[in-house]
């Protein structure tokens, strides 16, 4: 279980307890947190669950991107070097306290 903080582009903060094994994307969807669309449902084929990890320490601590994630991020709305697809961030106790920022929009 990890407490994940989701911050919308307008600054609204949401916190959710997300069970281990779920993705950060699923944590948002299951708790009705706006700002993450996840059109493809977690298949790493749409780039609409895009988030920024603004804290550099956290960014480095996250599991590395698998092949294809950066390719998908090329197609996201305003990707940056601290962008991740939240469907690829699998929750474990290690992610307790993670904060993700949502982009202005997903599509």
């Amino acid at each position: 279980m990890a407490k994940i903080k989701y911050i919308e582009f307008n600054g609204t903060e949401h916190e959710a307890d997300v069970a281990n094994g779920l993705s950060v994307m699923e944590g948002a969807i299951q708790n009705d947190i706006p700002g993450i669309d996840a059109d493809c449902g977690g298949g790493m084929s749409c780039a609409t669950c895009h988030v920024y990890i603004n804290d550099d320490e956290w960014f480095k601590k996250l599991p590395e991107k698998e092949m294809g994630e950066d390719d998908m991020l090329d197609q996201a709305f305003e990707p940056k070097s601290n962008s991740r697809l939240s469907c690829q961030l699998i929750v474990s106790d290690d992610l307790d306290g993670l904060t993700v920022h949502m982009p202005e929009k997903q599509v």
Binding site: C40, G41, G43, C46, D74, Q75, F77, P79, S81, V107
Partner: protein, 338 residues
């Protein structure tokens, strides 16, 4: 004006199997999709990815599934209207009048929306200023490449479309390719070619930059790009091209007076009709308690929606349930000789 029993919006697996079910019960349909090919998400997003949960098919790719579904509805000779989009619906005397973007018109008692998560459209630049030039000098696809001859063209993107056009246009235009990172997702041979063209100064390659602004006075003059650390550059541009893949937008569907729940359409589970009589929704776009976004659920939904359509298409007939194994009528429709 094309008169038909059903207009299906969306040629993904759900729309295709619904068409099959309509054919089996003796109804005609016309299928509209805004992609230039049949298959929907299966073809556009994951043609090569194996799917493992199609009943009785242990493993198949999106492309194989699509090809089999096309094969399955071949006997019915239904028309596809590709690269087109249903734009307007109007109801008169229990008939729907349907207009598409390309100006096609249909008259039908039934519409089946099998639109997935919406229609695929190119992702556009996030910059507001680019909208002014959209379709004129800011483009997301190329119809006529001769317009770029001897012009300055700035291309954004790192996939095959961006690379292929950069290579192609470098013969007769001044090409700058801008990409947000050093790696490209295009085919290795194209990436290699781009590097050669950049080394011999045929094209300008700028990485780790993205668009900031487009500038012009009536006509486009330049594009400003920025790096993440805040540096910016201005590049002369007659045309700016963006290739960032496709996104899915609900589009005009949102304007037809249908009840919507986020990006989905609530339906009843008896026949998958929406709040509008004669409009059905199936597949990923529909929503009901327990809805699963599985292809197999879309098949089931399509089969029931087809029977729902029968009621309005043949108001004076009673629908009779038949098995494909036993019914000679169905075998006739399938063109099966025994």
């Amino acid at each position: 004006m094309i008169k038909t029993d059903v207009v299906i919006i969306g040629a993904g697996p759900t729309g295709l199997f619904c068409a099959h079910q309509l054919g089996i019960i003796g109804l005609k349909c016309e299928i509209v999709d805004n992609l230039d090919k049949i298959g929907g998400q299966c073809i556009e997003l994951y043609p090569d990815k194996p799917i493992y949960d199609i009943p009785a098919v242990p493993k198949c790719t999106g492309e194989e599934l699509t090809n089999n579904l096309i094969e399955q509805i071949k006997p019915f000779n239904f028309n596809f209207h590709l690269s087109d989009r249903v734009q307007e619906l109007k109801n008169e005397n229990n008939k729907w009048f349907v207009k598409t973007l390309n100006g096609k018109e249909f008259e039908t008692p039934n519409i089946v929306i099998a639109g997935g998560v919406g229609s695929f459209e190119p992702r556009k630049f996030p910059t507001k200023s680019a909208e002014k030039y959209d379709g004129k000098s800011v483009l997301y696809s190329i119809k006529d490449k001769t317009i770029f001859k001897d012009k300055s063209v700035v291309i954004f993107g790192g996939g095959d479309s961006a690379l292929d056009w950069a290579i192609e246009l470098s013969n007769s235009s001044k090409v700058t390719l801008v990409h947000r990172r050093d790696e490209f997702r295009g085919a290795p041979a194209s990436v290699q070619k781009i590097k050669e063209l950049s080394d011999n100064k045929t094209i300008d390659l700028i990485t780790k930059y993205s668009i900031k602004d487009v500038k012009g006075n009536g006509s486009l003059e330049s594009v400003e790009i920025k790096s993440e650390s805040g540096e910016s550059k201005v590049i002369k541009a007659d045309y700016v091209l963006g290739f960032f893949g496709l996104i899915m937008q609900l589009g005009p569907i949102a304007e037809w007076g249908l009840n919507l729940d986020k990006k989905t359409i609530p339906v009843n589970t008896e026949n998958f009709e929406t709040n509008k009589k004669g409009i059905f929704a199936i597949g990923d776009i529909c929503n009901y308690p327990g809805k699963l976004k599985l292809i197999l659920s879309g098949f089931h939904e399509g089969a029931l929606a087809a029977r729902g359509c029968f009621k309005y298409a043949r108001p004076d007939e009673k629908y009779r349930f038949e098995f494909t194994t036993a019914s000679s009528t169905i075998k006739d429709r399938l063109g099966v000789k025994e």
